[in-house]
């Protein structure tokens, strides 16, 4: 363990060496007077309640699912939908924390693969024989599957569909599985990982700040920018929109989710009301970077405020505005992925899939 950490540090020294040769950042040599354990303590206080909240909302979802499948009617359907929407919003507050407990179970892939695979879902329902843990079912469970089951048809059709016991069971199993997986991760954040997170100080690959900044960036790039906006908007398909790839396509709460997600990432950056990455940058003689990032965050929030709920409408009716928003979201990547890590001495280690 000691050795591994030290070896990592050597790499860091070598890299810093390279940086200082290629760039004129003499202030890198200066001492940083910063209380990193206090930062981690505060970030823990920002993160842990979000997992708790998600966990509670999923318990509530399962209660509502129970009432719904006992008695499928407009009122129980609305209740289960409300509980789902709350849970899906709560998921957005932790979805970018795919390290530690979440990474070891592949949480994001287990709960939010979209577009969901309708064929597999319907096949599972009719056969009533499936293992939701198997890789073949990753696109047939989680929030997107519930979004399909509860919203893809008119209220009356949905209610009559849910007279089928297999469909009831499927909804129940998917919601239970979701709750179990979140509960496991939540539990680790509350127990064993609590001290791990706070104690992994420093800026090495395995340090908490290293993990956080890597995962924040990876999520921001792939899942926030591309997954939530860029791909449906057609950025990756020469402008041909891909409406099937919209998150929360049926419940039409895409922009609520986008805003929750961005807000949660913002809270990590600013540490909510306590010490955040902004303070870390300021203490690292990088207050210039912090002001650029802060104003870009404000800019993105104001861009996002133009949109409400439905992504299909936005793509069709506010296409130029959405493209402009995408551009503003894009700008933050340079500041978050290049400037912030280099000023804090953190390596961005994630990479795109190897092409071989």
């Amino acid at each position: 363990m000691y050795k591994a950490l030290n070896i990592v540090s050597i790499g860091l020294v070598l890299l810093l060496g390279l940086f200082s040769c290629s760039e004129d950042k003499k202030e890198e040599e200066n001492d940083i007077d910063f209380d990193q354990p206090a930062l981690l303590e505060n970030l823990y206080l920002v993160i842990a309640p979000n997992y708790n909240q998600l966990n509670s909302s999923l318990s509530e979802l399962n209660v509502k699912v129970d009432s719904f499948i006992r008695s499928p009617k407009t009122q129980t359907l609305n209740e289960v939908r409300n509980a789902f929407e709350l849970s899906y919003n709560n998921w957005q507050k932790v979805s970018f924390l795919e390290f530690g407990p979440a990474a070891s179970v592949g949480l994001r892939t287990a709960v939010n693969v979209y577009p969901t695979d309708i064929n597999i879902i319907e096949q599972n329902i009719s056969s009533n024989s499936y293992n939701l843990d198997a890789f073949s079912n990753l696109a047939a469970k989680g929030f997107p599957a519930i979004d399909y089951l509860l919203y893809s048809k008119s209220d009356s059709s949905t209610l009559s569909d849910f007279n089928d016991n297999n469909r009831k069971l499927y909804l129940e199993n998917v919601c239970k599985k979701l709750a179990t997986q979140i509960s496991q991760v939540n539990n680790e954040w509350n127990t064993s990982y609590k001290e791990t997170f706070k104690s992994q100080i420093g800026t090495d690959i395995g340090s908490s700040i290293g993990l956080l900044i890597n995962n924040l960036n990876q999520h921001y790039e792939r899942n926030f920018r591309d997954g939530k906006i860029g791909i449906p908007l057609g950025i990756r398909s020469s402008g041909v929109v891909r409406l099937n790839d919209i998150e929360a396509k049926n419940s039409e709460i895409s922009f609520d989710l986008i805003k929750s997600n961005f807000d949660a990432m913002k809270n990590i950056y600013f540490g909510k009301n306590g010490i955040g990455l902004d303070d870390y940058l300021n203490a690292s003689n990088a207050s210039d970077i912090n002001s650029i990032i802060s104003s870009q965050i404000t800019k993105i929030e104001s861009e996002l405020s133009q949109f409400n709920g439905n992504m299909v409408d936005a793509i069709q009716n506010q296409n130029q505005e959405l493209l402009a928003t995408y551009q503003e979201i894009q700008k933050l990547i340079v500041y978050w992925k290049v400037d912030m890590p280099s000023r804090l001495g953190i390596l961005i280690t994630y990479q795109d899939n190897d092409g071989d």
Binding site: S9, D133, S136, A139
Partner: protein, 384 residues
């Protein structure tokens, strides 16, 4: 606890590592590439050795086989792209059957098949026949039916009815069954570098063979790795990094496999020149251990990729790589291996299982824990 400077920590630890290394590891093992174990041992900075101005390093046969596997892989990838390929051609390439002309872009004198782990030759030939028979189609794969899967960048892979990517099973499979197998079961064994092997007379100086048999055999082991001669950690040289070299390079950030394997090879080779066989044995043990650790680290790397992957094509691709790399560990040398053949089989046949659609994250975490515990990778398993 308050830190005045994070910059200082790495510098302190730089000093520490030499202390730690020198007391925790075998003390007489040279870790620095310029260090000398004994006055008689001269360890070069790169894998270059010479005698009276003539290079004594030669592994053309290995380079030829690496080239052949590269050409086979190019052929396999045509099927991934949806094109038809011929099983006769693949089998001809595998055995380098030159009847009616070479199947390769250039004539080679060596072949892969006769150096492949004998019990598995039919497994690989079977895969080659199967990929050819399923090639040329553009249907989407589903559980139970072979077909194409889309990767994140839009390119495709051809997978069998169980969601296993043929190309990975064959290419990475042969890296294990041929290259790794030859290193650990042939060239590093007593038959090739033991006391009965000639290390006194030069092979054939009049024909440019200025090396002893023992020297040559170690070079042949080295040649199968695809490492550049100047390979090291954080490699930035210009030489081409191939096959195991590529995977060592990926694992290197976390386990420094490039330098560890290179240093052991250079020291072992220098020990042969100096006829210091106790050091040779010691370094060869390090080679065995570090290559196996690098393979295990590569398998964990792909397991981590698989666990976090939401794109089906990427997931099955990464899992096929993991499967093949774990399977490679079944070729480990019987005297040096850390997991028995049955234990390795349990990991790829039972845990991953032969149907990738049924694999679960907990199966993969079981494998990850088992490999990291066995190969001393626990501190880095999540960041590989």
């Amino acid at each position: 606890m308050k830190f005045s400077s994070f910059r200082i920590i790495p510098i302190l630890s730089l000093t520490c590592i030499f202390l730690i290394t020198s007391c925790s590891k075998d003390d007489d093992t040279p870790n620095d590439e310029n260090s000398n174990v004994s006055p008689s041992l001269t360890i070069p900075t790169t894998y270059n050795f010479s005698r009276n101005g003539n290079s004594t390093v030669s592994y053309d046969g290995q380079t030829s086989r690496l080239n052949q596997l590269e050409e086979i892989t190019i052929e396999l990838k045509k099927a991934d792209a949806g094109n038809l390929i011929s099983s006769a051609k693949l089998l001809k390439m595998f055995s380098n059957d030159t009847t009616g002309g070479s199947a390769f872009s250039q004539p080679y004198t060596k072949q892969l098949k006769d150096k492949t782990f004998a019990n598995d030759v039919s497994f690989f030939e079977g895969l080659m026949q199967e990929i050819a028979s399923k090639s040329g189609q553009t249907d989407t794969a589903v559980d139970g039916t072979a077909g194409l899967m889309k990767r994140a960048n839009g390119s495709t892979i051809l997978v069998d009815a169980n969601g296993r990517e043929y190309t990975q099973l064959i290419e990475k499979g042969l890296m294990g069954a041929t290259f790794y197998n030859q290193i650990v079961n042939t060239y590093l064994t007593a038959d090739k570098i033991g006391p009965t092997v000639n290390n006194e007379t030069l092979k054939d100086p009049s024909n440019g063979k200025y090396y002893t048999d023992m020297e040559h055999h170690l070079d042949e082991a080295f040649g199968y790795l695809g490492f550049p001669r100047d390979f090291k950690s954080n490699y930035s040289g210009n030489e081409i990094v191939r096959f195991w070299g590529k995977y060592s390079n990926t694992a290197d950030d976390n386990i420094q496999s490039n330098s560890k394997i290179m240093n052991a090879f250079k020291t072992a080779r220098a020990a042969i020149v100096a006829k210091n066989y106790s050091i040779l044995d010691q370094e060869v043990d390090i080679i065995y251990e570090e290559i196996d650790r690098m393979i295990a680290a590569t398998a964990i790397y792909y397991i981590n990729k698989t666990i976090g992957e939401s794109n089906q094509g990427e997931r099955h691709h990464a899992l096929s790589e993991a499967y093949a790399f774990i399977r490679a560990l079944s070729y480990a040398n019987i005297f040096k291996r850390k997991l028995s053949d049955l234990e390795v089989k349990e990991l790829y046949e039972t845990k991953i299982g032969n149907n990738f659609y049924n694999t679960t994250v907990s199966d993969l975490n079981f494998i990850k824990d088992k490999l990291s515990f066995t190969y001393g990778l626990e501190s880095v398993k999540d960041q590989l």
